[in-house]
């Protein structure tokens, strides 16, 4: 149970530098949190670069990154580990969280609010100054090494009373707010990711900010940076900008015909 559980964690290392353009002081904050062993909460709408940021920080600090996509059926066992049956006997299999603790990785819980409430509680002892992970079924208490770091992300946009973090969970973290980058930076990002000429990227960003103004006015969420990158890639490949915006932005954002129409009008003003 000891040596065989230490994973060959090279697969979790990010080898090439991911492209990440800092939009504020998030890199400094994260590094400080890392040094001080404080867990980090990334807040922000979808597609604004949270995952990319984690990859970048993992590369920057040369620490392996283990990502867990949370869903509403995620059990404690899925995180911590469970017994499997092999050749007439039971074998313990570490879950991703345990693996991260044992190996001193960065563990990234994506969309944490989706996870069941009883599941999120297991991270509590890990996130305060004890930094322990109890493995009840093994009867072990795992002490996290200083390299271990827990981060999680969530999108406060779709907040409903149900999908909210408990205060006792929240108050273990420091929070980095990810909102959309400002227009120049965002155009820069789109330009870099898709290789599309800059002026068109600027117009895409303008379109995105127009859709973001409509949030709550027919749209649940505005166009994300990710959508812009997709659109830019389509345009780069020779699609007509209007067509690309329709496929990659308007029709993606909503099904409501009235709103789609409005989005088409917006596209018409820009392209």
């Amino acid at each position: 149970m000891t040596s065989e559980n230490i994973i060959e964690n090279s697969q979790y290392y990010i080898k090439d530098e991911p492209y990440y353009l800092p939009t504020a002081n998030e890199v400094d904050i994260f590094n400080t949190a890392l040094a001080e062993n404080i867990p980090v909460l990334l807040k922000g709408p979808t597609g604004c670069g949270k995952t990319r940021f984690m990859e970048y920080m993992s590369w920057y600090n040369k620490r392996p990154l283990i990502t867990v996509a949370c869903h509403d059926d995620l059990t404690t066992a899925d995180l911590v580990g469970r017994y499997l049956i092999q050749n007439d006997s039971t074998v313990w299999q570490d879950g991703p969280l345990t693996t991260a603790v044992r190996n001193g990785c960065i563990c990234y819980l994506d969309e944490i609010v989706e996870a069941r409430k009883d599941t999120t509680v297991v991270i509590h002892p890990l996130c305060d100054d004890r930094r322990m992970l109890p493995l009840e079924k093994l009867g072990q208490l795992l002490q996290a090494p200083p390299e271990f770091c827990l981060t999680m992300s969530y999108n406060p946009g779709y907040q409903s009373a149900v999908k909210d973090l408990k205060p006792s969970t929240r108050q273990r973290f420091i929070s980095i707010d990810f909102s959309y980058p400002n227009e120049d930076l965002e155009a820069q990002i789109v330009h870099n990711e898709a290789g599309l000429e800059f002026p068109t990227c600027e117009h895409l960003v303008k379109l995105a900010s127009m859709t973001r103004n409509l949030v709550g006015n027919g749209l649940e969420e505005g166009a994300s940076t990710r959508l812009l990158v997709h659109t830019a890639k389509l345009i780069k490949r020779g699609f007509e900008p209007k067509m690309a915006c329709r496929c990659a932005i308007a029709d993606v954002l909503t099904d409501d015909p009235e709103t789609v129409n409005l989005l088409h009008e917006m596209i018409e003003t820009l392209f």
């Binding site: 049956i85 779709y158 009373a161 149900v162 400002n182 900010s209 103004n213 409509l214 409005l262 003003t269």
Partner: protein, 696 residues
């Protein structure tokens, strides 16, 4: 006289529904009425007309009666109702109206007719009697503009307003300007005014382009800070007269074009199309390709052009610059600079703002006005109460601060589909808790109910069984020792038994809150009401088994100022005798103003915490209330209320007895959020099965 007043009363009711019916159907007014009951006879009409306009009037009443007699009954009623209204405004005009009424109704389309009449009334209200007279006589003009090339502002207001909002991040309501002015396109910083309709080009699309160009030019006046020129402009006008203003307007429009060209290539393309149509020689070189133009560049250029014979092009999309309004814009921009509501996402090119030396005006940032008082005076002649624009921003500021101090009283907005706007604080809701003694409740049909209760219990028990531990799973929280043992013992027979040796615990996945909104309108009178009461009672009795949160509220009312909500069981209460008493005292009340009931109950349900929150509406017909909450109006308002509920992440579901429900429910709710119940005696069981579907 008894006859007369009686008739008037009857008439007002039927007139409403006649109009409603027309608005739902299409085609010319007359043809739509075919198949309706025959109208009043010439003699009857003559008597009525004499009663209204007076016996000794010199009008050829007989001739009118003959003409009107040819129309169907509902149309005749429309004429009388309008006549009645007009006579209050002006006797003379009412007579004019009478003279043409028969031909008008036979020839005009519904919307044309309404536009014609409302124009006439508007003019009368303004005291422009002559023009009103002209309008009445020239009704033919209204039948002609069915012309496909005309673009009407009312058809595109919604799109333009949203477009402006998405750009400016601030509500700028759009209104049709008074066409008696020479300038029809202008803004005061809080509203945009555009011509009522445009038929300048022979092509519909070009006319629409023109609208867009005009709108963007008005927006340009605001974002390019044209108002900063105001002082110089005034001096110039003093010195050179109106020519200065006209040159300024043209040059400033060229400057705004520069901004449009760089920021909105799509609009610029439209504008250039208009240039070609108009054969305009556009002076591309006027600003020498200079970037970051400011209003000072305009003023400098105006200074050098004034008095020369340089020909500036006449632009079709020339917007109006009115010095007094520019003053208002300046004021509004100052108010908007209040730091409390700074809008940080607005990006404004600093260089465009940084033009005057005044440090205050140079400071950047576009902000929302504190209150939109200016919309009010435009529309306040129609009804009391504030009007509100469809964005939620204004709402959050105002809705919950005003007049909400009365206890148990709530105010809600309502969607006016003809205006495409919300009417703010339009409906007044009162929660009426009925306290009844819990004794002597008679329950009819006890045997049948017992049977139904058992069925419901069975359905629900299945739900409960769903939630316990599930054994023999391939994945789960714990090892299922029993499965493991049995797998071992059958080892040779079924090797894959070993796959399924986990127990999965599902207990906490069930997390439901449901709100039953029960229609208590007068039309549920009789056995429907009995059935509704019994089903509600059975449900309440049995739902406790599931441990789901549930509440029951009834709704009814009459008119927008007395919308009533009858709480039967709140989320906090548990089922007890007084709940039972309240269930059995549910009785039919008045009408069904569904939108406001849904808004109120969504609010109540929104406060419940649960993973699945269901708004279950039980109703017997379409939305319907006095004060013309009917037809498309009621349906559209209800539809929006349901959409708002969805936005609160509630799941609405409508169960209806209305056989015509399929006509409007799909439109109101989208598919699979409604069901029609044909045999009402199945109601209790049907509800429980739907309940099961909704919550699993």
């Amino acid at each position: 006289m008894g006859f007369f007043s009686n008739w008037k009363k009857r008439f007002h009711q039927s007139q409403q529904s006649a109009l409603q019916r027309q608005s739902r159907e299409g085609g010319s007014l007359e043809s739509r009425q075919s198949g309706s009951t025959g109208g009043m006879s010439t003699n009857e009409l003559l008597i009525r007309l004499q009663l209204i306009v007076g016996q000794n009037s010199k009008l050829p009443l007989m001739e009118y009666s003959t003409k009107i007699a040819a129309l169907s009954h509902p149309l005749q009623l429309i004429i009388f109702s309008e006549l009645d209204e007009l006579i209050d405004l002006s006797y003379e005009h009412a007579c004019d109206f009478l003279a043409v009424s028969a031909s008008v109704l036979a020839e005009m389309e519904q919307d044309q007719y309404q536009r014609w009449l409302s124009d006439v009334k508007l003019l009368l209200a303004k005291g422009e009697d002559e023009r009103a007279k002209e309008r009445i006589a020239n009704f033919v003009l209204y039948t002609q503009d069915a012309d496909a090339n005309v673009v009407k502002l009312s058809d595109i207001t919604y799109t333009l307003e949203k477009l402006v909002y998405s750009l400016y991040n601030q509500e700028l309501p759009i209104f049709a300007s008074d066409d008696s002015n020479s300038i029809t396109t202008f803004t005061n910083g809080c509203e945009l005014f555009l011509p009522e309709s445009i038929s300048y080009f022979d092509d519909h699309d070009d006319n629409y382009r023109l609208y867009k160009a005009l709108t963007f030019h008005l927006l340009g006046q605001l974002t390019c800070s044209s108002w900063q020129s105001l002082d110089t402009l005034k001096q110039g006008i003093e010195k050179y007269g109106d020519e200065y203003l006209s040159v300024f307007a043209k040059v400033e429009s060229l400057r705004i074009n520069c901004q449009i060209k760089s920021e909105f290539p799509g609009i610029w393309r439209d504008i250039e199309l208009l240039h070609t149509k108009e054969d305009i020689k556009y002076p591309y070189d006027l600003f020498d390709g200079k970037e970051n133009l400011s209003v000072d560049d305009t003023l400098a250029l105006v200074g050098s052009l004034i008095g020369t014979d340089y020909q500036l092009p006449e632009l079709v999309y020339q917007s109006g610059f009115i010095p007094s309004l520019m003053g208002e814009i300046r004021e509004s921009q100052k108010i908007q600079r209040s730091p409390l509501i700074l809008n940080p996402t607005q990006d404004v090119d600093d260089s465009l703002l940084d033009t005057t030396g005044d440090p205050e005006t140079a400071d950047r940032g576009y902000l929302r006005p504190v209150a939109d008082s200016s919309t009010e005076h435009i529309l306040s002649n129609s009804q009391p109460g504030l009007w509100q624009d469809s964005a939620p921003n204004g709402e959050s500021i105002n809705e919950h601060t005003t007049k909400h101090h009365e206890k148990g009283i709530y105010y809600y907005k309502e969607w006016d589909t003809s205006l495409k706007k919300y009417r703010k604080d339009w409906c007044r809701v009162k929660e009426i808790v009925e306290d009844i003694s819990s004794d002597d409740i008679e329950i009819e049909n006890l045997e049948a109910l017992k049977h139904a209760e058992q069925r419901i219990r069975k359905t629900f028990d299945l739900l409960i069984n769903d939630q316990k531990f599930i054994r023999n799973q391939s994945d789960g929280d714990e090892i299922d020792i029993d499965a493991w043992v049995s797998a071992r013992s059958n080892k040779n027979k079924h090797a894959d038994d070993f796959q399924n040796v986990y127990i999965r615990n599902n207990t906490s996945t069930r997390d439901v809150a449901i709100m039953f909104a029960v229609d208590m309108s007068g039309s549920t009178h009789g056995w429907k009401n009995t059935m509704i009461k019994q089903s509600t009672w059975l449900l309440c009795k049995t739902l406790a088994r599931l441990g789901d949160q549930y509440a029951v509220y009834g709704f009814s009312g009459s008119g927008r100022s007395s919308c009533h909500i009858y709480p039967v069981k709140s989320f906090a209460e548990s089922y007890d005798k007084s709940v039972k008493a309240r269930i059995f005292s549910m009785k039919p009340h008045q009408y069904t103003r569904m939108g406001v009931a849904i808004r109120h109950l969504s609010m109540v349900l929104g406060k419940a915490t649960a993973k699945t929150r269901i708004l279950f509406v039980l109703t017997d017909g379409r939305p319907d209330d006095i004060d013309s909450y009917r037809g498309q109006y009621g349906i559209d308002d209800t539809r929006l209320a349901l959409n708002e509920a969805k936005a609160l992440s509630l799941k609405p579901f409508v169960l209806t007895f209305d056989k015509e429900g399929m006509d409007y429910l799909p439109y109101m709710l989208g598919s699979s959020h409604y069901q029609l119940i044909t045999d009402i005696s199945h109601l209790p069981i049907q509800i429980s099965t739907i309940y099961k579907q909704l919550t699993t």
